[in-house]
């Protein structure tokens, strides 16, 4: 099959896709975080408010890494 179109666009799409591989880590991390928070709430339902707040904070830290990957891929797609 003959390939038509712009090679740079194709490379950008591939690069943006590859950049998003970095989301695997934060995905696992957030899963572990929520698992821990849920079992903590299960053991001590009275503390659920504080546990939830801290869980959201932890998720924000883990998610920041995913957002870096996202920003890299967005920059590749729309700025470069």
């Amino acid at each position: 099959m003959e390939i038509t179109g712009n090679l740079v666009d194709a490379a950008k799409a591939i690069g943006a896709g590859l950049a998003m591989i970095g989301v695997i880590g934060p995905g696992i991390g957030i899963g572990v975080l929520v698992q821990g928070a849920l079992s903590a709430i299960g053991r001590n339902p009275d503390a659920s408010g504080q546990i939830t707040t801290n869980m959201i904070l932890g998720i924000a830290f883990a998610e920041a890494v995913a957002i870096y990957a996202l920003v890299v891929s967005l920059i590749i797609l729309f700025v470069l």
Partner: protein
Amino acid sequence: MKGVLILLGIIAVAVVFCGVVPFWLMPEAGIAVALPVIMVPGEVVWEDFLGVEGLTITNTLIGTLLADIVLLAFAFAATRNMKVVPGRLQGLFEVITDALYGLAKSTAGPNAKKIFPLMATIFLFLLIANWIKLLPGAESVGLMHCAHEGINGYPRNGIILEVNEAMDAGERATEADYEACYASEHGEEHAEEAAEQEEITGEAVGEAEPDPIDIQPEMTETEGVRDDIYAVTPFVRGAATDLNLTLGLGLLAFVAIQYFGVRAHGVSYFTRFINTPALANVAKRPMGAMDFVVGLLEIISEVAKIISFGFRLFGNLFAGGVLLFVMSFLVSMLVPAGVYVLELFVGLIQAFVFAMLLLVFSAIAMEGHGDHGDEH
């Protein structure tokens, strides 16, 4: 029997609103959903606003100002006429303020009073700024203009873009398309202007042509020049989808954290970065050298907070905007409603996270430094 009827009803509604309407009726009428232009920097709505050279109004700036106005109006309406028994608006504000203050109190303890005003302001501002982009018309109603080179556009039908095919990503405009469109838009009187532009850009095209990476540059040329490729620049875009705002807020948060630290501890605050006491006592406690190196590393993590603050907010909100665009583009009904609910949640969470991190970092900066030696 009733369950089966309900299931059939749900299936029928889904088929009508996710199949028939967006993929048949709307393209038939030429009002299928267009894929908006996705750009990272804020798009320029007015160049040289009010004749002032270099004063550029971007749509994210309009979003920011709108959020400011809404927040000020709410705050004014809630506090203008305060009563002991609060009305609805005052009650709402009291509930929000009380919840935030309780949070600050539980995190920062006695220092809560100093951090609370900044943290609550940032929370309320970000909450409203994030939710403004979910209003109908935001990121969709705007100035229609000829699509610039490399931007996908659609033909024009009165005041809307005509899209008569479902999931039509539009046609990518070339330089020639933009010039033809510009000339037909501005008529004869501006023909010279357009011709001048053509001359200037003509050279640029000539230079760019021997580009070895383009496999088949003629492919786009053969389709001919079109003069009806338009794109829309929205008037309002979510404030936090612009890195200028989020990095600015990150910088503000960083400065505020250092300010709180210095106010609580004086100059000795900086010994947590350049740990001279530990270095002075290194003969007595050899581990003090380690503390000194850790303190230097703290500088990096302190500066990284700016980037972390800025990109977390920007990434979440911008990605949310792109998600909304793409979902509305793929299935224009029913499905985007779910995404809107998600975005409502994300906007709240991100505003909360920003305020909460500012609170936690400030509390850490202010909290006991004198008993530093006891921690080890």
